[in-house]
Symmetry: none
Subunit: 407 residues, 2 copies
Amino acid sequence: MSLDALYSELTLKPNAKLALIVLDGLGDLATKEQSYLTPLEAAFTPNLDALSKNSAQGRMIPVAPGITPGSGPGHLGLFGYDPLEFQVGRGVIEALGLGVELKAGDVCARANFATLDAKGIVTDRRAGRIPTETCEKLVALLSAKIKKIGDTQIIIKPGKEHRFVVVFRGKGLEGPLTDADPNREGYAVPTVKPRDHKNAKQKKMAGLIADFYKAALPILAKEKPANGFLMRGIAHQPEIPLFEDRYKLKPACLAVYPMYKGLAQLVGMKKIEGPQSIAEQFERYLTEYNNYDFFFIHYKYTDKAGEDGNFAAKKKAIEDFDAALPILFKKRPDVIAITGDHSTPCAMHGHSWHPQPVLLNSSVSGSDKLDRFTETGANNGSLGIFPAKFLIRLMQANAKMFDKFGA
Amino acid sequence: MSLDALYSELTLKPNAKLALIVLDGLGDLATKEQSYLTPLEAAFTPNLDALSKNSAQGRMIPVAPGITPGSGPGHLGLFGYDPLEFQVGRGVIEALGLGVELKAGDVCARANFATLDAKGIVTDRRAGRIPTETCEKLVALLSAKIKKIGDTQIIIKPGKEHRFVVVFRGKGLEGPLTDADPNREGYAVPTVKPRDHKNAKQKKMAGLIADFYKAALPILAKEKPANGFLMRGIAHQPEIPLFEDRYKLKPACLAVYPMYKGLAQLVGMKKIEGPQSIAEQFERYLTEYNNYDFFFIHYKYTDKAGEDGNFAAKKKAIEDFDAALPILFKKRPDVIAITGDHSTPCAMHGHSWHPQPVLLNSSVSGSDKLDRFTETGANNGSLGIFPAKFLIRLMQANAKMFDKFGA
């Protein structure tokens, strides 16, 4: 019997409210330069401290030892889906990040405007990093002239600078394909090919990419410097079992940024629009309290500060979050998990593989007798260091949603 | 997608020096008799202490909970190969330990001189533990008369007391076979058989063993008490993916004892000959610094003292190691892992299953704020208690050798 089948068999109807609160990139490193304190350790967090006393703590491995996840695998893991089993292509992630409402079967490609010479050789893979406004203008030009190829709908969305995405919406399409990108200057744009040569849907998709190039290149021919483009990460939206079917929990997403709304939608969470700050997200939780069982609440600013290598900003983001927590507590969720989707150490200016700390609070979480929620304290917690994909299972257990296994 | 495939896909070229330093059998138990201190805890280790402050710590499970590994599985695990997937026969380990330079396809058997009665019944499985010199004399006798069987080359090497190994080097040979050993006195030596009856290479090998007995027994017939012999663990050198291909790291082995050089060679590490002490090994590391990316440095004396149950000697071995560390630091490796291949608790006089402590140091290892490297401290480290096969992956991550997984 598979473990998932066992969980499923034992799952009871929920009679509790569960909140998964993600401080993006929360985990960090203690370094000599910061007196061996992480931002979480340096921050003033009276509300987290009070919660900690009656909580269990631990650390979570987002994907596997040493693997640094992007936001896609990071969140899929948090949602309880093995990131190795359920892979989301970069094109799909990029489209989600730009707020495209994807449908099942959509194939997405991330694209760069580029500069080509007279022979079609790539001379600048980023077209001199054209301003975002130029990108928007060029995408509008393409969008106006290319709405369909055969019976396939084409959706083009501009990103920042030279970046954009192309979504192919039609029947019988599939990725992944090879890239239309030589990955270095001085070479022509390669023709894309199916990753699996026997897959007819990938073959059809490769033909569509070729047709898209035929239609789009003449439109850009006189542009400078963006007279061409590259396409990468061409993949379809993967089939993922719905969160509600998997956990018998009715889920809602309270996120500000499109990427995280999109990732939540991938697993079928209901996207709640409106809130623009963590205080507003918590307020909205209060009003939606009766409508859902499970709330995914996403806070971005810890990751942003980590990416910028800004220790003070990360500490401040944590303190701002802490200050908003009393709003959530007005209708306290029965099960609260507070964690990150990965670590974003300030010293590394980016995501990392270091296990993120996690705090789990419920009437039956037990207490690890820790006065604060910190990386170092979490090392000693009763949850241990475990794969992130088990967090929702632990939350379900704390919600008393699992029957006993065997007599 | 398999995890190994993911690691492989994400692996970047190294731009760092990595050192895996193995104090054999390092882990130990705190007992009342030694005031609840392990040898590592009792030892004076100023250099390890200083390193510890800026390192991560944890403990590693060599194979699986409760499994006590020999040196083979212990080291294969450390080298990142699942010891269950990659099994090395005892004959191969024994041959490596005696310094035989094995080639791909070699089949090795460990053998004992034994005493047989007139009817061929085993009356002493160890021939009264004959002195090593007698063993050497008998092996010389056999070697002189049996150089080949058919087109298969026969290599015979003496070990300690009644022990020796036989290596069969030829084409189309494979193990494993059943043992030519009744495992108790009072029975005849059984004929060896293929473990897999459909395997033609094993059948051929079983015939060679029979022929070897036919050739060798008459030569020993008049010897007393060693007029016969037993053969066990008959197996070929397994096919193991090369370390350099697997990790994109050019590896060197700095070991003193043949067994560990042999294990390193099994995965394709370059064996550096010469050094006879840990100080000399570290000195040689300095001169070889530019020639390799990865250095496996093996220190035997912790295990020896553990096997002897000699607490004071194990403590002293750790202190001697610590005293030599400043040599290594003259050209500090970017990533340093210090650990054992397993525990060898003094109180147990042998290898054990208890997870060995591990220290991991790099500019991005973070600090677990531990002032010393000890078993008890390692229990609280951010690395947790994890399977040893992931250590190299963590070292690669610390060397910034992994691209981000997903967007």
